[in-house]
């Protein structure tokens, strides 16, 4: 992934773009719309105005954080497929802690985000424990924890966290003082996206430029060699589990604090799974994953507009990331076989 030559990267990117374009055009035709008009509606909905751009960046916040979290885990050889559940855990923590806090808005915000990150890390802990002590593949345990988290959200918004002033299955709203205000009028964009981008940079620096990052990558790339030179595999893996969980939890907390203001059911619209796709498209490089996440967010924002204007179902925004990742995986595997 890091060692890819420029030619190979170009070949992979070209394959992926061709597959994505074919999927976009094919699906538009299938829905009986003119592909050109569908694409125009998509582009305008994603970046055609300040509001559209704001929508894209608002959607990007969660995807960047889960994408970077997934990259961090994958580079350390930890297959954390449970970012969806960790995202939900963070959202629950934010919704539980948020309405209780009094005092300064800044203090409350920091407390909410800390609680969300902690909850995300905590939610991945059983998977880390089961993998280290019982040899349970984390792929399976993290997926199951996703289902448990979804069930917990469903119960909490009808029970302990339900807003006492309404009959809806939703939690109490965060006060306006605590919620992040839009950066520009007429747009949903808040400072949350800046937090996500700053963390993406921080993780990139940590992973690519520090001795700790090198150790983390070494455990993922060559576990046997890493063990032979005395790297603490168990501790490094635990750190990768916890930090990817914390990033996903933070994404959930920011979603509540900046976008929804409260928790309801069902809450996550696949932010965890799409984040994984962003990591895979970006070769588990945090910066490339960030770019992929913004691309997927633009697809999401654009496809809503496209559904409204041309009648092409918005589910296209879920299909295209999947097709892109499949194309990249196939192209990489093919090139790897050619050269070895």
């Amino acid at each position: 992934m890091r060692g890819e030559s420029a030619v190979r990267r170009f070949a992979v990117a070209a394959t992926a773009l061709a597959a994505a374009a074919a999927a976009l055009v094919g699906l538009a035709i299938l829905a009986g719309a003119s592909p050109l008009e569908a694409l125009r509606a998509l582009a305008e909905g994603a970046a055609g105005s300040t509001a559209a751009l704001g929508e894209t960046l608002t959607r990007a916040t969660a995807l960047v954080l889960t994408g970077v979290g997934a990259s961090l885990a994958f580079r350390a050889g930890v297959l954390n497929i449970g970012l969806e559940g960790q995202f939900l855990a963070g959202a629950v923590a934010a919704a539980a802690v948020g309405p209780l806090l009094a005092g300064s808005a800044l203090g409350a915000r920091v407390a909410i985000l800390a609680a969300a990150a902690f909850a995300g890390a905590l939610w991945v802990a059983p998977a880390a424990y089961l993998e280290a002590r019982r040899g349970v593949p984390e792929v399976l345990s993290t997926i199951l924890l996703n289902l448990v988290a979804a069930a917990a959200v469903s119960g909490l918004v009808r029970g302990a966290l339900q807003d006492p002033e309404g009959d809806y299955p939703q939690s109490r709203a965060l006060s306006d003082a605590v919620r992040l205000a839009p950066l520009a009028s007429g747009s949903r964009i808040t400072a949350a996206v800046l937090i996500a981008l700053a963390l993406a940079l921080l993780v990139t620096l940590l992973l690519q430029w520090t001795p700790f990052g090198l150790k983390l990558r070494a455990t993922g790339l060559a576990p046997a060699a890493a063990r032979a030179i005395g790297l603490p595999r168990a501790r490094l893996r635990l750190l990768a589990f916890a930090s990817s969980g914390a990033l996903a939890g933070l994404a959930g907390g920011l979603e509540v604090m900046a976008v929804t203001g409260r928790l309801y059911d069902p809450f996550a619209a696949g932010a965890g799974y799409t984040g994984i796709a962003a990591a895979l498209l970006g070769g588990s490089h945090p910066l490339a994953a960030t770019a992929s996440a913004v691309l997927f967010a633009a697809l999401g924002a654009g496809s809503s507009a496209m559904q409204r204007d041309t009648g092409v179902p918005g589910a296209l925004a879920t299909i295209v990331p999947g097709v892109l990742v499949l194309a990249v995986l196939a192209a990489r595997a093919r090139l790897a076989r050619k050269t070895t």
């Binding site: 199951l144 996703n146 469903s154 895979l280 589910a315 296209l316 879920t318 499949l326 995986l329 990489r332």
Partner: protein
């Protein structure tokens, strides 16, 4: 209590069928964590076929055909193409979740009205023949893997692919065949949901059952017969949930929603991890 047993068996059948297919694929050395997506493809195909006038049995066949294709497509990427099956499976789920939702919208319109289909007629114990037949599958699989020549080749592909290749067998061919079979069984599992439990399609109708089926395979330690108690346990918990909910129980509803996943998690914790896992599980074919 007869109602409870009937519901439990009806819920166990799709799970058991999908898990049996996954077990076959994993014993051959590959793994499809996008089983949820395959089940969705089966559920949607059965729904679409039934809506366009096919009887419930023809709808079942249509789903099986879609599953065969899905299994072949997965194998093209993860077996013949040698891409990491876990990563292919993750992307597979996105394509299937989005793809079935997309096609459903085209069929039902963007407003989304509930479209019902005819369910399979009951044969005995309130269960249709297809659901009853599911409970025979683990026994057939057990005999197939232990006693037949293709079954032994399949096990070899999962335990020692180099040895299979050295004796002139094709690991790619064996795993592709297993993937095709697993695709058909997974899709049939999804179709059974629509044709028995809930006679309509909604987005995400499988509600995590594909993921539970994956856990069941580990719970059964890759032994076909052990799938039966696992599936009955999980389905029993779900049936209990329905029953208590209908009875106005004060136990929070979410406890029952989470119960199957929690049971599977505990089962994983006490199954001593990879004990019994095929030695070459998830590795590329030589």
């Amino acid at each position: 209590m007869s109602g409870f047993l009937e519901v439990a068996l009806l819920l166990a059948a799709p799970l058991l069928l999908a898990a049996a297919g996954e077990l076959l694929l994993e014993r051959a050395g590959s793994i499809q964590i996008g089983l949820e997506g395959t089940m969705l493809i089966g559920a949607f195909t059965a729904f679409a076929a039934a809506r366009s006038g096919a009887g419930p049995h023809a709808a079942l066949l249509a789903a099986a055909a879609a599953g065969l294709l899905a299994g072949a497509a997965f194998a093209a990427f993860a077996v013949a193409g040698r891409a990491d099956p876990i990563l292919v499976g993750t992307a597979w789920n996105l394509v299937a979740v989005g793809g079935t939702a997309f096609c459903y919208r085209l069929l039902a319109g963007v407003t989304g009205s509930v479209l019902e289909v005819r369910t399979l007629p009951a044969l005995a114990f309130g269960l249709p023949a297809a659901a009853l037949a599911v409970f025979v599958v683990p026994f057939v699989l057990e005999v197939f893997l232990a006693r037949t020549r293709p079954g032994l080749a399949l096990v070899a592909a999962g335990e020692n692919p180099l040895a299979l290749a050295a004796t002139g067998g094709s690991v790619v061919a064996v795993r592709t065949a297993a993937s095709v079979a697993a695709g058909a069984l997974g899709a049939l599992g999804g179709a059974l949901l629509v044709l028995t439990v809930s006679p309509t399609f909604v987005e995400g109708v499988t509600a995590g059952r594909g993921f539970l089926a994956l856990a069941l395979v580990v719970f059964a330690r890759w032994k076909p017969l052990r799938l039966v108690p696992g599936a009955l346990l999980v389905a029993g918990a779900t049936a209990l949930q329905y029953r208590l909910q209908a009875g106005g129980s004060h136990i929070p509803y979410a406890v029952f929603l989470a119960l199957p996943s929690l049971l599977a998690l505990f089962a994983l914790a006490f199954a001593r991890g990879r004990g019994g896992a095929p030695k070459a599980l998830g590795t590329p074919a030589p």
